[in-house]
């Protein structure tokens, strides 16, 4: 695999990622009733039962973050931000469906790696830099590591995973590292 020039915009890339995966379309088709009713249960007065007119309904982040599957996850805010259209965590039904289809067991590894990268990229600059890593570590250990330890672990991670030596992790670096992780598929999975 050589270097490919990608000429899509970020939005087009996102849409491309999910829509071209027919297996995810199948997943959404199979689980749609269950997912729709879970979405509706969050705010029955806001979500109409009749979607034929494509109503523009967005559930605020607070409701999404209170779901039992996401309530205790330290990354719930980032997950909601990544999958929401407006980037603030307020999700339409489409966003909701996309989120749970990527986090299901049917999503392929590349797609999961792409979204995991976006989740860990806190400042949305398409690179996981040191500050992103520090934030990730603090969420992982509930701020219990000392500053020195955080610094050392970040340095080690960048040493191990940064292949183009620019001091930060690009999507390619991240994907190469994920290839070597046997249990990534089972950990990046939410059952609903």
């Amino acid at each position: 695999m050589g270097n490919k020039q990608t000429i899509f915009t970020a939005q087009q890339l996102d849409a491309y990622q999910i829509s071209c995966h027919s297996i995810l379309k199948l997943y959404i088709f199979l689980t749609f009733p269950r997912l729709f009713y879970r979405y509706r249960d969050l705010a029955p007065q806001l979500v109409p039962l009749d979607y034929t007119n494509h109503p523009d309904v967005k559930l605020p982040y607070e409701l999404i973050g209170s779901m039992p599957e996401l309530k205790d996850n330290p990354f719930r805010q980032r997950i909601a931000e990544v999958f929401s259209e407006d980037g603030e965590g307020n999700m339409t039904l489409d966003d909701f469906l996309d989120m749970f289809s990527v986090l299901s067991e049917m999503a392929p590894r590349d797609l999961k790696a792409y979204y995991a990268f976006k989740i860990y990229d806190f400042n949305n600059d398409d690179f996981i830099c040191k500050s992103d890593l520090e934030k990730t570590l603090n969420k992982l250990t509930r701020n219990e590591l000392t500053e020195d330890e955080v610094r050392m672990v970040c340095e080690k991670v960048i040493d191990e995973a940064d292949l183009d030596n620019d001091g930060r992790l690009s999507l390619e670096d991240f994907q190469h590292m994920i290839v070597r992780a046997p249990d990534f598929l089972s950990t990046f999975h939410i059952r609903i």
Binding site: L137, A161, M177, I190
Partner: protein, 490 residues
């Protein structure tokens, strides 16, 4: 979790061995005893022949119960080989794939976070240790190594001291076996008491010694485990040795007491029973101590924890479920049973019941009292390790018991072997009772015409497997290197 799987495996093993022994020995002997008193001598002879044949089978049964564990050990070893090795990408693995997104509940989340925290800390500490160790001057290194050697001797001396204590206790208990009442009970159980005390005190002291030795954490754990294994299994060997020396007057069969029957018949009219009794006492005492510890130590702590919230802040904390020492207890119990099975047929059944009860009580304790140990024991290598220790215990049991059929004269007063000069002689006797063709067939198998080609064939097969193993090992290493290359290139 691997602990409970191991425990379940041992329960099944014990139960199967008990069933086999029951089928071959206990039922015929019960039948014989209830019927024998009525029958005349003619049929009595046939029954006794049948009985002796069954006794021979039971004598060798317990030694052959090991093949299934060897098979599972092979599987565990295979997994360990395939996944073991380099820790490349360790930190990035933990950071990016360590979090289980499906983790639900506040408690589970906190636990997982603590787990990740601990893993990162351990890795960082190991790194800083290595850096410090590399930076030591020559003089400091010499001091450290000589300290370690000295402490090794101290630990060894402690263990030898424990053995000597067990030796004296066993001798004392055998001499004073005529006492009655509570004192008699204590004296009877004296070896078990000394063993349990030793198993408790010596690891504590070894832990203190380990603080001085300052090995890296993983090495400390391995060294502590090895010492504990050595202590437990060899203390069992010490008991057997003392018993043997008393029964056979220290191997000198022509001295004093042992001259008439080649064993000390006045003190031990039925020595097999006595040995069986000792094993039975050990098992029983071990079980009682386990239950006592669970009930008297862990339940009060749990009650304290529930009632006084402030206790949570104290150093008492919650009991941690330490996997290795619990597994060691299991292996020790199993070795005792294997040693005693030859002399006490009901011992496997007792052990089955004991492990069964222990399984459920430990499960209750684990879920209610203990917080999970933060130091997660890697499960594949640990299964392999448990089975290796079990194999060692089995080897010890076999080694201790196997001289008995050959050398020591069975007791004249009791037991199924009483009319034979040694237990082993029942094999040739029953062999000659088989039909002529069977005898010829077995002779042929034993003869040179058959065994030498068989030996050669097994050598060839073994060479084939060794070659196969080396090829697989090479291909595993090659694949790993390729994976590294592919990921670095791009």
């Amino acid at each position: 979790q691997s602990y409970f799987l191991f425990l379940r495996f041992l329960v099944v093993l014990n139960f199967v061995s008990f069933l086999l022994i029951a089928a071959f020995v206990i039922i015929p002997s019960i039948v014989f005893r209830s019927v024998g008193s009525n029958l005349a001598n003619s049929t009595g002879n046939e029954f006794s022949k049948l009985h002796f044949n069954m006794s021979w089978e039971f004598c060798h049964l317990d030694l052959h119960l090991y093949p299934p564990p060897i098979h599972s050990m092979g599987t565990a070893a295979r997994v360990a080989v395939a996944t073991g090795g380099s820790a490349v990408g360790n930190y990035s693995m933990i950071v990016f794939t360590g979090w289980d997104f499906g983790c639900l509940g506040d408690r589970a989340t906190r636990l997982k976070q603590k787990n990740i925290h601990y893993r990162l800390q351990v890795d960082l500490e190991e790194e800083s240790r290595n850096k410090r160790a590399a930076a030591l001057t020559l003089c400091q290194k010499i001091v450290l190594y000589s300290l370690r050697i000295f402490m090794g001797f101290v630990a060894f001396g402690l263990i030898i001291g424990a053995f000597y204590g067990i030796f004296e206790a066993t001798n004392f208990s055998q001499k004073m076996s005529e006492e009655q009442g509570i004192l008699g009970l204590i004296i009877e159980y004296l070896p078990s008491i000394v063993i349990t005390a030793g198993n408790f005190m010596v690891p504590l002291l070894c832990d203190q010694i380990a603080l001085v030795e300052r090995y890296s954490p993983s090495t400390t754990i391995i060294v502590a485990l090895l010492r504990a294994v050595f202590l437990r299994l060899v203390s069992l060997g010490v008991i057997l040795f003392t018993l043997w020396s008393q029964i056979t007057c220290e191997g000198n069969t022509s001295s004093g007491d042992c001259e008439l029957c080649q064993y000390s018949h006045r003190v031990y009219p039925c020595w097999e029973t006595r040995v069986g009794q000792e094993m039975y006492k050990l098992t029983l005492f071990d079980f009682l101590i386990n239950i006592a510890v669970l009930v008297l130590v862990e339940f009060p702590l749990m009650c304290l924890y529930c009632v006084f919230v402030c206790v949570r802040m104290l150093w008492l904390g919650r009991q941690e479920f330490v996997v290795p020492s619990n597994v060691l207890g299991l292996v020790y119990g199993q070795t005792v049973v294997w040693t005693g099975a030859l002399f006490c047929p009901l011992l496997p059944l007792i052990n089955t019941i004991k492990f069964f009860i222990l399984f459920y009580s430990k499960k209750i304790t684990l879920f209610n009292n203990c917080r999970p140990a933060l130091k997660t024991f890697r499960s594949t290598t640990s299964t392999f390790f448990f089975l290796v220790v079990l194999l060692f215990g089995w080897g010890l049991a076999t080694r201790s018991v196997s001289p008995c059929p050959h050398r020591i004269h069975p007791s004249m007063g009791c037991g199924p072997f009483r009319f034979f000069p040694t237990m082993w002689s029942i094999v040739p006797t029953s062999f000659y009772n088989l039909s002529k063709t069977t005898q010829e067939f077995l002779f042929f198998i034993g003869s040179q015409a058959f065994s030498i080609p068989l030996f050669a064939l097994s050598c060839v097969v073994m060479c084939y497997f060794i070659a196969l193993a080396s090829v697989y090992g090479k291909s595993v290493a090659l694949l790993r290197a390729q994976l590294k290359l592919v990921s670095c290139w791009h």
